[in-house]
Symmetry: D2
Subunit: 465 residues, 4 copies
C-alpha cells in the first residue's frame, strides 16, 4: 500500500469531492490522508463525514483519514498531491456571467470557459490561482497538482507562470464523451460493441475545444465511419449515453449534431460536448438564438437550474453524511484516480490532459496550455506529439488559445484594455458592436465587483471613462 | 546606363503601366526594353504608343523600347524584371464579388483581398499565377518578379509554392499612407513638417493588414503623439492628403478614424487605408451597414464607380497615345522604380514588401507571405526582423493569414470544401448563418463560373449537392 | 488470428531473420505469409527451410507460409509490413570501413554508424534505400516499414525524403541495454530486482547516441543512484548481463565505464553500448589507441571476427534447415514482434524508435531522424515529447545529427565535397590533418568503388584532383 | 548639434578610447560629455587630457567635455550611450590564458574568445558584466549600450540575461576585413577598385566566426570570383592591406589562406581574420603546431608582444596628453561613431553587429547572441534576416554558439562542471585527453585565482577533488 497525502483545495465541493473520494475508496493499494480545505468550512466538514461513512463501507478497498484544514498552507504541508476544484465566487456571479450577455443577444450554453462569461470568471479566478501557485511553491513544490476548475487553460497557465517548476496538469472528461460517441458510431455502423478505452484517439487542441484527428479500433478507421452514421442519425441527433434522445429533457445532454456538422465541414471530430464546442465558434452557426439551439439538439444551461441542482446535492450530502442515505460505491468513469495511481508507479496509462506546450503541438506557441494525450507513469507525465490539426481547425484553435493568453496577460498586469481586447475577440462576441461590447463588459464587471475590487484597484476609473 | 528588359504582364493596364512608365522615364541611368503582354492586346498597343510619346518628352531621362508580345513565353524571354499587374476576369465578375454579399448584409469597402470578394477573386487568380510561375521557372528563372495584383498575399504564395527558387516580391503602397498620417500627426501636434521617408517605421503583418509597432523621427516617438492628435481630430476625421475632409466626396479617401480607434484599443497603428483595414476585422465594428460606414468616415467603393473610372482612363489613354493630350511627367510617389534601381545596385533602400516568412515574423508560420520592411540592394532583397505584434493584434493577423493559407490550399487542390472553410472564417462573414454562407458562396461561384470552370471541373456537382 | 503479409528485405539474413521468425512463431494470434527477398538467394531459401522447421515445432503458436521472392516489387506486393535488414556490400568493404582508418590512427569499435566507416557505409546504403522507398511508394504505400539496417538514421531519413507519406520507423535495441544497466544499479544499491520493462526512462537523441534524462522505478530516481553504484563498480567495470566481467573475453561486451564517466560529467545517462557511444565523442577521450580502449573496458570489433562469426552462423543455419540441429524456440528479448502486434491493435506499448522529428525534440530541426519513446497502438505510432537534453549533451547530439543530414545531402546530390565536409566533422576524425583526411577519404572510396561507381559517376575525377 | 552624454566604461583604454574620441571629434553635429570610468584611474585622466588636446585641434568638428568618474553609477547617470571596452584582469592572466595551454599542445593565435583562453577570460568577465547590467538597469535603463570587450558574445549574453530590456549590442570590425578582402578579389580578378561600403554582404554567425554567404557588387557575384583569385594567390597568401606579405613580419596580419581554404571546402567566406577563424575549427587543420601556423600564413600573438605594444601605447598616450606629440586626426575606419549617429537619427546605415537572435538566424536558438547585418536608424537597431548558412558551416557555428551558452550557464550558476563541459568541447581542445583536459583547466584556474575567488567560492574544493 502506498501512503500519500492528498490536499484537496475546494474540498467542500458538492459533487467532485464525492466522486473522487469514491473512486479512491475503490482503488486498492492506497491510503493516507485526504486534507480538505474550503472557504465554505461547513461543506468541508460534511465531506469529511461522508468520507468516514465511505471508510465504513464494506466495498471500500482503500481507507483514508479525512482531515479538515482551515488554512491553505496547512493543507498543503507534506502533500504528495494537490487537487484543485473550486467555484470562484457564487452562483450570483455566475448568473451575471451567463445571463447578462443575453440582453445583448449572446447566448451561452455553459458560460464558464470561453465567451464573455469565461472572461469574467477568469478575472475572478486567476488572482486566486496566483496565490495557490505561490503557496505550492513555498510549501510543497514537489507535489503533483491536478486542476479541475474552469476556465481550465487559464488556471493551468497561471500555475505555471507563477511557479514554472510546478508539476501541474488539468483534467477534463469532455474528450471521453467524444470517444464514447465513436464507440457508438462503430456499433451503429458495424455492430461491434467496444469501450472507449479500447480505441486510440489522437486528440489535440485546447480544453473544451479539442479535436480528434485520428481514431482507430483494430482495422477500423472510426472517423471514416461517421458519414455512414450521419446518414441515419444526423437529422434526429444521437446522445451517447442511455437514451439517444436524452437531450430532449436533460439540459446537459445534446444530440451530437453540432459535432457531426463540424465533422462534415472539417474532417476532424470536435472532442467535447456540443454545449462546449458552440462557445468557441461563430455564434451565428449554432447559437444565434434559443430556437437555433433547439434545432441543433442541445440546450442552454441556466444558472437557476444549477442552483436547484446544487441544493439537491447539498441535501443529498447531508443525508449521506448522516447515514440516512446509504452510500453506493460505484466507479465514476473519471480517470483522476487512475492518473494518480499511474504517477505513483502502479500502472502506465495514456489520457488527455492540459499541459504547457513543449512540442506536442508545434503549430501553437510553446508554453501555451494545450490538451493532448499524455503518458502517465512512475512520477512522470509526458505529452505525446499530436498529429497536426487541419489548417482551418488550427485557425479556430489558435484564436481561442491566443484569446486566453491575451486575457491572462491582461489579468496578470491588471490591464483592463488588454482584457477587453480578448473579450471583443471572443467568437461568441462576434455580433456585438464596439459600443455594446464595452457596455456589456462594464455591466458584467459592475455585477461582479465584489470579487474583483481586491485585484483591480482602478475599476471605478475604468467604468467611468 | 544599365540596359535591362522588363516584361510587363498586364501591360495593357490602364493606370499602373502609365505610372510605372513615367517613373522609369524620370529615372536616369536606365534603358533597354519594356515588353508589354496582355490578353487585351489593343490596350497593350495603346500603352506602347503612350510609351513612345513619353520617349519624345523632353523631361524624359531614360528611354526604353516598347514592344508588344502576344505570347507569355515571348515576353519573358531574357527578362531581367517581370512586372505582374493584372485584373483577373472583368468588372462583371468584380461586381459579383463586391455586391452579391450585400444581399446577405455583407458590405465590402474594397472587396478584392479579404472577405467573400477576396476568396472568389483568389479562385480566379491563383490558377493564372500557377501558369505564370511555371513559365518564369522555364523561361527566366533568374528574373526579379514584382507583383502588384490583388489579392497580393495569395498571388505571391502561388509564385513561391510553384517555383520555390523564384525571386519574387509583392509591392503595395498602403503602408505609405500610414506613414504620411504619422507625418501629419507630428505636424499637427508639434508643428514639424517632414516627409514619410524621414521616419523609420517598424511595420509588419500581412498585406492590407499591416501594423506599425514603432515609429520615430529623431527624438519623437510618433505613436505616442497619436492620443494628443486624436483629441483634436478623432471626432471629425483627418484624411492624409490635401483636404482633410476629402473622404466626404472621394470614395477612395477616408478619415483615418478607424485607424485611430484601433490605435486607442491596441496601442499599435494599423498601416493601410481604413477601407482595407475594416475588411479584416469584425464587420460589426465598422462595417455593419452603410450608415456605420459613414459614421466611421470612409466609403464603400462601388464597381459602377470603378467602371466609370476605367472608361475615363481608357479615354485618357487614347488621348495621350494619339498626342491629343500632352503627357505630364511627374513622379508618382510609388517606390517600384526605386526598388528596381536598388536591385540593380544603384542605391540601397528600405521599403515594406511582401515575401515568404524566413524569420522576419517568427510568430507566424515560416513560409507565410508577410509584409515587413526589407532592404533592397545589389541584386538582393532581405527582410528585416520585425518587432513582435501585440498579442491581440497578432491574433487577428494570424487568423487572416491562416485564412489565406487555407484558401490557397483549397484552390491548389481544387477542394471547394476547404475553400469554403476559409470563406466562412473570413472576419467579414461573421454575421452569416451556415445556410446563408453556403448559399452566398454558391451564388458567387455561379455568377463567375465563366472564369472558374476551366480550373474547377466539379463545380456542377458542388453547386447541386 | 490476424492474417498478414510480412515482406522481409534482406530475408537471407543470417541472424536477424531467425530471431524474428522465432519471436513471431511464439506470438499467438498471428499468421499469413513471410516473404523473403535477398540478393543472396540461397540464404533466403535456407531461411525458408528454417521457417518451415519452426512451423513443425510443437511450441510454435503462429505458423506462417515462407515464400522466397526474386524481385523486390514481388515481395512488396500486398505487404502489410516491410522489414528491412540488409548488409550493403560485403565484409570486404566493411573491412575497409573499419580498418583502413587505423592506418591514420583512427580506431573504430563498431564502424557502421558514425566515424569514417559510417560515412562510407552510408554512401553504399542510401542509394539502395532510395530504390526501396520508390518501390514501397509504388507497390505498398500503406505498409508499415521497419528498418534494422545501419546506419539507422540515414536509412530512415532516405525513406522519408524519397516518400514523405511512408509509415516507417527504425528499431534498435541499444537503449534496452542502458535500461538493464539501470536495473542493475537499483539491484546493486538497493537490493531490488526488477525488469527493464518495470521502469520508465525518458530517452532521446539519435540512434546509438541516445541519452536517458530521467528514469524512475516507483519512488526511486534511478539516475540519482548511479554515483553510489560507481563507488563500487566504476574502477573495474560492470557488464549488464551474466558475468559482469564479460568484456574481458567477449568483444561485444563492455564494462559500462564510458557510460559512467559520461554520467559523472553530464548528469545524464548515455543510452547505448559503450562501443557505440565512443564513436560519437572526441576520440582522445576513450578511443585514442588500443590501450585506452582496454582501460575503458570495452573492445574493438574486428571484421575478421565478424567473418568468423558469420561462417559459424551459416553453418548453424544449414544444420537447422536440414533438421540436423533442433531449433530451440526462446523469445529473443527484441521488441519488433511486440511493436508489430501493437500496430495490429493487440496491445498498446511504449518503445524507443527512430522517427522524423515532429515536435518530440524541439531543440533539433524538424524532420531530423531522432530516437525517442513512442506509443504503438492500433495502426498508429506516436512520438512522446522528450525532456530537453542538458545543453552540453545537446551540442554533441546536434553535431552528430547535422553530420548525418550533411552526409545525406551530399549523397542525395552525389556531391562528394559535401560528403567530405561531414567526414571531416565526424568526432572520430578529430585527430586528422586536412591532408590526411582527404587521403583517407579517397583511399576508403577506392577500396569500395565496386559498390559506389554505379551511384557516383564522377569518382575518377574526384580521386584524381 | 545633438547634445549627448557618453559613459565610457574602461575609459582608461590605451587604444580604443583614443580611436573613438578621434572619430567623434571628426563627426559634426555632436557634442556634450564623455564620462571616463576605469579602475585604472590615472589612465582615465590621461585620456581626459588627450581628449582636451583633441578639442584644441583645428580639424575637430565636435567638442566634448571630458569628465573622469570614480564610481560606476556616477558615470552612468544621465548617459545616452554607454561604451564598454575593458580588459578583465591583467596581461599576467592573459599570459596564462594564452600560453598555459601550449604545454598541452594547444596553440592559440588570439586566445580571448574561443578555446581554453576564451573560457577562462569569460569566467573573469561575466561576473563583472552582471554588475554592469544591474547598474545600467538601475541608473540609465534607456541608454544604448555598445560593447567592444571580448569575449564578445558572452558579454552581450550577460547584459541581456541580467536586464532583458537593455538596448545593447556588440561591435566588432572583423567582418570589415573580409569585405576588404572581397574588394581585393574584385580588383585582382576584374581590375575594378571599390570600397567595402560599396558592396552588400550577407554575413551571419557568431562573433569572430561569421560567414559571408552572399556578396555582390553590381552584377558581380564576388564569392564566385574567389576560385579565380585563388589560382593566383592561394599559394603565397594575400593580406588585405598595404603589403600583401605583411603577415611575414606583422603578427596581427595574415595571408587569408585559411579563409581561402575554408571557402574552397564550404563555398562560403569565413568573415573574420584568419587568426580568429582557426580558433573555432579543428586545431589539426590549421593550428596543430607553430610550423603549421607558418604554413598557413598567419601568426600566433604572444602576450609578451601585447605587453610591449601596450607599453608603447602608454608612452605614446603620455606624449599626446602632454602635447609633446601632436595628435593626428584621421578617421579610423571603425563604425562605432557612425552607428551612434544613426541611432541619433542623423542617417540610416547597415552594419553587422551582435544581438540576441529574434529571427535573424532561425537555425540557431532564439536568444543566442548572433552577428548579422542590422539597420541603424532613429533610435532603433533592427536585425536583418540572414540567408541560411550551408549545413556543414551551421554545424560548426552551432557548436561554437552552444559552447558559449553552456559556458554562460556554468558561470551564471557558478557550476564548474558545466563550464568544464564547455571547455572540453572547445574545438581547440580536440587533442586533449580527459585527464590532460582537467589538469589544464585546473592549472588555468589556479593561475588566475586572484580574479576568480570572489565569484567562485568553491574553487579549493574543485581544485582538490
Amino acid at each position: 500500500m502506498t501512503k500519500i497525502k492528498i490536499a484537496y483545495i475546494g474540498g467542500g465541493s458538492k459533487q467532485w469531492a464525492r466522486t473522487f473520494m469514491t473512486d479512491l475508496a475503490l482503488s486498492s493499494d492506497l491510503g493516507g490522508e485526504i486534507g480538505l480545505y474550503d472557504i465554505d468550512l461547513p461543506m468541508a466538514y460534511l465531506n469529511k463525514e461522508i468520507g468516514e461513512r465511505i471508510n465504513q463501507n464494506s466495498s471500500t478497498k482503500s481507507r483514508f483519514n479525512y482531515v479538515v484544514y482551515e488554512k491553505l498552507n496547512d493543507v498543503l504541508k507534506n502533500a504528495d498531491f494537490v487537487i484543485i476544484s473550486i467555484l470562484p465566487a457564487t452562483f450570483k456571479e455566475m448568473a451575471s456571467d451567463v445571463h447578462t450577455p443575453e440582453k445583448y443577444g449572446i447566448y451561452q450554453s455553459v458560460g464558464d470557459t470561453a465567451g464573455p462569461g469565461g472572461i469574467l470568471r477568469a478575472m475572478r479566478t486567476v488572482p486566486i490561482y496566483e496565490e495557490f501557485a505561490r503557496s505550492i511553491k513555498e510549501i510543497c513544490p514537489d507535489a503533483w497538482v491536478i486542476n479541475f476548475t474552469n476556465p481550465m487553460s487559464i488556471c493551468v497557465k497561471t500555475l505555471y507562470d507563477v511557479f514554472p517548476g510546478i508539476k501541474a496538469f488539468g483534467c477534463c472528461h469532455e474528450v471521453f464523451h467524444a470517444q464514447e460517441f465513436l464507440c457508438l458510431v462503430l456499433r451503429e455502423t458495424r455492430g461491434i460493441d467496444i469501450h472507449r478505452k479500447d480505441i486510440y484517439t489522437d486528440a489535440s487542441g485546447i480544453n473544451h475545444f479539442t479535436w480528434i484527428t485520428e481514431a482507430r479500433y483494430k482495422d477500423y478507421d472510426l472517423l471514416a465511419l461517421i458519414p455512414e452514421f450521419m446518414e441515419k442519425y444526423y437529422e434526429e441527433g444521437y446522445y451517447e449515453y442511455f437514451d439517444r434522445f436524452q437531450f430532449k429533457y436533460d439540459c446537459f445532454a445534446y444530440g451530437n449534431k453540432v459535432k457531426m456538422n463540424l465533422y462534415s465541414r472539417y474532417k476532424a471530430l470536435a472532442a467535447a460536448g456540443d454545449r462546449h464546442l458552440v462557445e468557441f465558434v461563430n455564434p451565428n452557426w449554432y447559437l444565434k438564438n434559443p430556437q437555433m439551439v433547439k434545432d441543433w439538439k442541445f440546450n442552454l444551461t441556466t444558472v437557476d437550474f444549477r442552483i436547484k441542482q446544487q441544493e439537491e446535492r447539498i441535501a443529498e450530502s447531508k443525508l449521506l453524511a448522516s447515514g440516512k442515505k446509504a452510500i453506493e460505491l460505484v466507479p465514476s468513469g473519471e480517470e483522476a484516480t487512475d492518473l494518480l495511481k499511474a504517477i505513483l508507479g502502479h500502472q502506465t496509462i495514456i489520457s488527455n490532459i492540459n499541459l504547457p506546450n513543449t512540442g506536442q503541438m508545434p503549430d501553437l506557441p510553446m508554453g501555451s496550455i494545450v490538451e493532448t494525450n499524455c503518458i502517465f507513469t512512475n512520477n512522470q507525465v509526458k505529452p505525446i506529439v499530436a498529429k497536426p490539426l487541419p489548417k482551418a481547425v488550427l485557425n479556430m484553435v489558435y484564436r481561442a488559445n491566443n484569446n486566453i493568453e491575451t486575457c491572462y496577460l491582461g489579468i496578470k498586469n491588471r490591464d483592463l484594455d488588454v482584457i477587453f481586447a480578448s473579450f471583443m475577440n471572443q467568437a461568441l462576441c462576434s455580433n456585438l458592436t464596439l459600443d455594446d461590447g464595452l457596455k456589456l463588459f462594464k455591466e458584467m464587471i459592475s455585477n461582479t465587483r465584489k470579487y474583483l475590487d481586491a485585484y483591480f484597484p482602478n475599476l471605478d476609473e475604468y467604468l467611468n471613462k
